[in-house]
Point group: C2
Chain length 504, copies 2
């Protein structure tokens, strides 16, 4: 057996390591349809955990779910010129609504549509059309709706979870009576995403507004949360857009104010996607495979019975079932602990390594000798696979919540320390070039790289200056960042530093 379950390692070839972790954990795979993935049960179960937690947070902040059509008439996109520039390039277009079987057994598309339909790349235009009908007066505001859906953006260079032609996401769309309320909503949902990323995914994020070049097409302001992957690259993990009155004007979303005057609404939109699964994989996993934070692990604790004789089996299985029941009665993160017994008839070593590669946070082996000693043999996914601890079975369930919390916090602290080590403050364009320069620093696919906090203006000259490095301005951090300075490219004064990085 090699030193590590995943080959190549992160240091050897990070992009290929990622593909191999996905494969070894049985999360997803490419489908026969170009750019579209199949999300396998273990990968989908992680997404379901994310959905459950986020959905609860959306509802707690007053949002309701609804569902809008998959298809958008071409003319709706034409109404939104700026939006089209950004999105209309790579869309799936439906042109026919019927198939006929030809004499050679081939199917022929027939029933040509009068107006082609676009498979939604995002739903601002179709939802806006409905809001224009539904909103009459200030009494109808705020309109706070979220949709869980699939969207399609044709990808030429797909990567599983990170960039796929079809992906699953949620998109919130809200309408408000005032600019202030809409900005407040935009920032509230940014905070929801940041809390979710840090508390549940154990993934530290930097949150802040984007520069004009990185803004959502048609938005006044786009805010994002940016996480650092283990190759030092940034991954945009969620966005929240203040759309001003831009979409409301384009789609005629008006309301009668309390004074009776007719005004355009102020709208927002915000979303996260199955990309978050990729973010979690790349934040925590190691050279043995997936590492999952307990809060989003489909199973947090796996119990592995060990036995030879039927008599041993009966005793061990009884102990396992008792422990499983006790664990299910305990809670962690406000939910019952998710424990399962893996009693499959297969080689013990293979079974253990499967759970390691799938990222189960805690494994407890229980055999006849353990039973005699009233103890199980525990291993933690966040520690080395040989680091065994004897745990008293009678007390294990009552201690499990603390154990899971310790693992959850430990992963978060580790990720924060990793980010801190790879974050620098730079004060000249030359230093930025050195830090990101392919010759002297980390290049594409390197395990180094990082975040550079730099004073830069929101100016096309900045984007142009760093474009050869494939480095972009990720966002302007909103917290702990009050140091004014002058732009290292344009010399303009700027109130705070921005984060520069290569990105996914």
């Amino acid at each position: 057996m090699p030193d590590h379950a995943i080959s190549p390692t992160r240091a050897e070839d990070y992009p290929e390591w990622y593909q191999q972790v996905v494969k070894a954990a049985d999360l997803a795979e490419q489908s026969p349809v170009r750019g579209c993935m199949v999300i396998k049960p273990h990968g989908y179960a992680i997404w379901e955990r994310m959905q459950t937690i986020l959905d609860r947070m959306f509802k707690a902040t007053g949002h309701q779910n609804a569902y809008f059509p998959l298809f958008i008439p071409l003319s709706y996109l034409e109404q939104e010129a700026k939006h089209v520039e950004g999105f209309a390039k790579e869309c799936a277009v439906v042109t026919h609504h019927r198939l006929e079987l030809g004499p050679d057994g081939k199917l022929i598309p027939t029933g040509k549509l009068e107006e082609p339909l676009v498979v939604r790349p995002t739903s601002e235009t179709i939802i806006g059309a409905m809001y224009a009908k539904w909103i009459q007066s200030w009494r109808d505001l705020p309109m706070l709706i979220n949709q869980w859906a699939n969207v399609v953006r044709w990808e030429m260079r797909p990567r599983v979870f990170l960039r796929t032609s079809e992906f699953l996401w949620q998109e919130g769309h809200t309408a408000h009576a005032t600019s202030e309320e809409a900005v407040e909503e935009t920032l509230r949902m940014l905070d929801v995403y940041a809390t979710f990323a840090e508390r549940d995914l154990a993934m530290p994020v930097v949150k802040g507004p984007k520069t004009a070049a990185e803004r959502f097409p048609g938005a006044v302001d786009t805010y994002s949360i940016e996480a650092m992957m283990q190759d030092g690259k940034a991954l945009q993990a969620g966005t929240s857009h203040f759309l001003g009155q831009n979409f409301a004007r384009g789609q005629n979303i008006k309301f009668a104010s309390t004074s009776g005057a007719e005004e355009f609404c102020w709208t927002t939109s915000w979303g996260v996607s199955t990309r978050l699964v990729g973010a979690v994989i790349m934040t925590h996993s190691d050279d043995d495979g997936l590492v999952l934070p307990p809060r989003i692990a489909p199973h947090q604790i796996v119990l592995l019975p060990i036995h030879r004789t039927d008599e041993e089996k009966a005793a061990v299985m009884e102990a396992c079932r008792k422990l499983e029941a006790e664990l299910s009665a305990a809670t962690f993160g406000g939910e019952p602990i998710r424990a399962k017994i893996d009693a499959r008839d297969m080689r013990g070593g293979d079974k253990v390594w499967q759970h390691i590669k799938q990222g189960v946070p805690v494994r407890v082996e229980i055999g006849p000798r353990d039973l005699a000693a009233g103890a199980g043999s525990m291993t933690r996914r966040d520690r080395g696979p040989k680091e065994r601890v004897a745990v008293p079975l009678a007390e294990f369930a009552s201690r499990a919540p603390t154990l899971l919390e310790e693992i959850q916090q430990g992963l978060f602290e580790r990720a924060k320390a990793f980010r801190a080590e790879r974050t620098v403050r730079l004060d000249s364009a030359a230093d930025v070039h050195v830090f990101f320069g392919a010759g002297e620093g980390p290049g594409e696919g390197s395990a180094r790289g990082g975040f550079a906090h730099v004073h830069v203006a929101d100016d096309p000259a900045v984007a142009a200056a760093f474009d050869p490095l494939k480095v972009t301005v990720r966002c302007v951090p909103m917290e702990g960042n009050d140091e004014p300075g002058t732009c290292v490219v344009t010399g303009k004064p700027v109130p705070r530093r921005s984060v520069l990085a290569r990105s996914y």
Copy 2:
């Protein structure tokens, strides 16, 4: 105010009554995209209730969720000749993957695909292609996967929830080593659907196999649950298909058996859709609007504070909040009771009628006088709007589970009685013609009609005989139906009666 909140009434114009109930309850509406509906928050919340309960039942029977691509290559459908005949007629076909902005501001589809893609009308072919890769040996079986997804079947005559070009559903797809296991799975999931329909939707169903003419294209056997709507028509509320080895052969889904021999798998598929929302509406609602069984009502109890002065308001709101908390701590159907306070500033009558039209099972009004008496004024949606009962506030929460169970059971019993009244046994083709004849019996859109239990053979002559009446064989009931006889059309001996009805 008219006698009833919904106009026309069921007796006056049943199809139009249905549309008006949907509108008055704010469940859904037509979108600008032909045949596609927008599911509004109240309608979607009902679907979420259905999803939550069904998902729990699927997982309890060993299934896992996964996600497969929206698009199916045209060639996949060509492989399944019989399947194509049934489904390929009305599909959305994607032919281009890019849009370009023309000089006149119009968008032009470009980037023609080498092979057109079909938006999934159902996923047997794409899931089968993955199963062929995933399944190697008997150790990989059974494969038990479910998908929650949107599907598209172009509809020329759409009706909200009942028949829409895009709809939401779940589709289970399983593969087994033996025919027996696959048949067992098919029937197990039919039972899951029947239990869900009767226990949760309070909707009595007849379950049984379909005749050849009504079978899923490519299936060996299709089983359905059939419910009776208030116009006497049948609504197919769920189907479970035993696919034999038909799809496995077409898609090469093979496994090495315990003896080492290579064999084709035996597969099943089963699904229910947002059509169930339409079924619930038409089963229980009345001329005042929607009536929801408590188990699937997004809110089961609404508390309506009544007050004039600020002092009254403080006391009444405090009592409401206390009761809401007590109700949320009580359970019904294994879940916390879903109660909410409606403190919106609007006319009390309008507010009450909104809850009536939206189908909230229980309303409790609490005003200063009620408070002084320690009681609230309760009205039930399943009784007349003026039938008020004083309920002691101190005991209401502890009595609520029994109250909700009584309402749930009452709706089920009422629906069963309705069906029993409109179900007949007929022993000649002439009687069938009289029962369904437009001249003497109920016609299209009538509030009469019903189920006729008749001895008929599974024979095209039977379908042909009743086609002029727009009557079809819905299924052959599996329970309480052991009376042999001879087919009223062909004279062939048959072991049991079938259910004939008009249908949605």
